[in-house]
Structure formats: structure tokens, C-alpha cells
């Protein structure tokens, strides 16, 4: 499978091993977190072929041949993704544990709905944050949407 653009071959005895553990323990990518283990909190959210997936409930056997994107692959300090940039500007994280999951869910949302309404945010961003940063996240999501569409506009070829 491809993880953040790199090819990996992984061998396991249990093909039902959640992708989360392969990502964290075998590939050393610690950004994706374990929260509940039953797909109820979203801390483990990453992308599989561009779709948001809760990796604690995703057997690694289904990842074969797919492209996985984790928070590390979304962007980094030198080149942050608009979502990460917005998260920094709005000072969203408190303890930080849930944030990668939220950012991955948000990135998936903005792919599908570039300018989501508050209702669409309510429906799609249903992860859990125990520090209560939701109000800052909402601002950050709107800001990220702006940033992303601004990027798209600058990247579009001009017709002159």
C-alpha cells in the first residue's frame, strides 16, 4: 500500500489488524491516534483513496493497493495544508489529541463540499473533542474553506 506517497509492503499474521496499528506501530507514524477502538470518536481518522476512514475499524487487508494519507501526509511545517494552516491561525488545539482526526475529517469534507454551511459541518464533522475546542474548529473550518478556494483561484489558468 501507499502511505503519504511512499510504497510500503507489510506482512502480518492477522489480516484483520486495524490499519491504525500498522500505521502507528509498524510504520512509526504517530499522528493518527487511538481514541475508542470502536469507530465512535474519530481520533483515528485518515484517508483511504481520498475518503475519510476510521482506521481503528479498518482491517489492513482492505488497504492493499490503496493510497493512505495520514496527518503527516496532509502537509507539514514548511508546507501546511490549508486546513492545518487555518488550525494554526485560529489556535484550535488544546491538548491536541483529537486534532489530527478532526483535520483529516475536515480535509475530506472540503474535498467534497468546498464551502460547507454550518449544517453540513454539523453533519460531517462528528468527531469528539474532550477539551471543547469545537467553536474554534468551526471558525477554522470556514477559514480553511476560504484558504482552499483562494488557492484554487490562484492556481486556475487565467484566460488573458
Amino acid at each position: 500500500m501507499q502511505v503519504n506517497g511512499q510504497s510500503h509492503v507489510v506482512e502480518l499474521t492477522d489480516e484483520y489488524t486495524p490499519l491504525l496499528w500498522v500505521i502507528r506501530d509498524m510504520l512509526g507514524l504517530k499522528g493518527t491516534k487511538f481514541g475508542c477502538g470502536k469507530a465512535a470518536c474519530g481520533a483515528c481518522t485518515l484517508h483511504v483513496d481520498g475518503e475519510a476512514v476510521r482506521s481503528c475499524s479498518y482491517p489492513v487487508k482492505f488497504a492493499e493497493g490503496k493510497e493512505i494519507t495520514t496527518i503527516e501526509g496532509l502537509g507539514d511545517a514548511t508546507n501546511p495544508h490549508p486546513v492545518q494552516q487555518a488550525w494554526i491561525e485560529e489556535i484550535v488545539p488544546q491538548c491536541g489529541y483529537c486534532q489530527p482526526g478532526f483535520m483529516m475529517a475536515t480535509a475530506a469534507l472540503l474535498d467534497k463540499i468546498p464551502n460547507p454551511t454550518d449544517e453540513e459541518i454539523d453533519d460531517n464533522i462528528i468527531n469528539v473533542c474532550r477539551c471543547g475546542t469545537y467553536y474554534r474548529m468551526r471558525k477554522a473550518i470556514h477559514l480553511a474553506a476560504e484558504k482552499q478556494s483562494a488557492l484554487k483561484t490562484t492556481n486556475e489558468p487565467t484566460n488573458s
Binding site: P18, K38, A39, A52, V53, P59
Partner: protein
């Protein structure tokens, strides 16, 4: 005089004993009335009811809600986290059914799974209907997505999502989910029998 009455009493007692010992309990002459059978339940009706015993079970009805919210558990509680049908029965745009539900039951997270996990379209709502109404809905081309009886037969006996009901996996606590009251084999036989006999919905 007293002696005579003693003798008389003794005689009566002896007569009583003799008579009592002659009495042997015998089977009643009454013939027990058999419990009233439903007025001529045909094999087709029997098959119908067996099939509907499955289709009215929460494992089936939970994904045929009468609103836009999938149901879960034996109680048919609304799906956690405010999940809803979405535009195309697959959940919301970014948080879809397949964000958590994969093509197989997950033994570690307790999340159930089967191929093409989704809600049945709203026209196929079964929640709140009785078994006769469900059957009518199922055979009605206006509501069943334009399926012929042949299509429905295949759907009921071959669709992996339908047959998931018999292998519903374990929940987050590791406890097996309840299966319908009929075995998969008996259910399939009942469905085939009902269709073979002209898929007649009995009058209730």
C-alpha cells in the same frame, strides 16, 4: 339390638369396600377436541410466515427505517452520532457509511459490515409496517425500485447485505448480535417455496 346394628354397619362397610375395589379408573369416554387449526394454512402461507419472521426482525428492519435515520440494536434505536441517510442512502458527503462500515464485520471494533453497506431507499421503508404490508411493499414495483418477482427472489436469497442478517458479527463488547429466528437455510427454502407457489400474500 345393638349387635344387629353393628353387623349392619359392618355389612355396609364391607359392601362399600367391595364396591370401591371394583371401580377402576378408566379413560374418559370424551374425545379431546383438537386445537382449532387456522383455516387451511397452505404450504405457501407457512413459507410466507417463515420468510416474514426473518424480514420483520430488527436485523432487517433497522436498515429499512420509515425516516432517514438508520436504526441499530435489537431495540431499533437511532444510529449513534446523528448519522443519516444523506443524498444517496450512503451517509453524508464526507462522513459516509463506509467511513466506519466496511465489507465485513469488524471483530475488533464491533462495527458490523457487509458489501455495499447502506440504507435501503426510502420507498422501501418497513419500520412500523406489519408483515403483510411489508410483503406488499416488497412486491410493489412502484416502491421496490422496479424489481420483478424474479429480481426480488434473487435479492432475498443472494444479496450479501440481506444475508448479513444471519452473520451479524459481534458488538463493541464482543457480544454476538441476535440472529433472526429462522436459520439461513430454512429462510432461503421458505423464500423459494413462496415464490414458486406464486408469491401470494395471505389475508391476515
Amino acid at each position: 339390638m345393638k349387635t344387629k346394628s353393628y353387623i349392619l354397619i359392618l355389612f355396609l362397610l364391607m359392601a362399600g369396600f367391595v364396591l370401591a375395589s371394583m371401580y377402576t379408573p378408566s379413560e374418559s369416554d370424551y374425545v379431546s377436541v383438537p386445537p382449532s387449526k387456522k383455516n387451511s394454512e397452505t404450504p405457501s402461507d407457512v413459507a410466507f410466515h417463515k420468510m416474514m419472521d426473518v424480514l420483520t426482525h430488527p436485523r432487517c428492519v433497522n436498515c429499512h427505517p420509515n425516516d432517514h435515520v438508520p436504526k441499530q440494536g435489537i431495540e431499533g434505536d437511532p444510529h449513534d452520532f446523528g448519522m443519516s441517510r444523506g443524498e444517496n442512502n450512503l451517509g453524508f458527503e464526507a462522513t459516509k457509511c463506509t467511513t466506519c462500515h466496511q465489507t465485513e464485520n469488524n471483530p475488533y471494533s464491533g462495527v458490523p459490515g457487509a458489501p455495499h453497506w447502506s440504507l435501503a431507499p426510502h420507498s422501501m421503508q418497513w419500520q412500523g409496517l406489519d408483515r403483510f404490508e411489508i410483503a406488499a411493499s416488497m412486491m410493489d414495483t412502484e416502491r421496490n425500485g422496479g424489481r420483478t418477482p424474479e429480481d426480488i427472489l434473487h435479492h432475498l436469497t443472494e444479496d450479501k447485505l440481506v444475508l448479513w442478517a444471519f452473520h451479524p458479527g459481534v458488538d463493541a463488547k464482543g457480544e454476538p448480535r441476535e440472529v433472526p429466528p429462522v436459520s439461513k437455510e430454512d429462510y432461503i427454502k421458505a423464500v423459494e417455496a413462496w415464490f414458486e407457489n406464486g408469491h401470494v400474500i395471505p389475508s391476515n
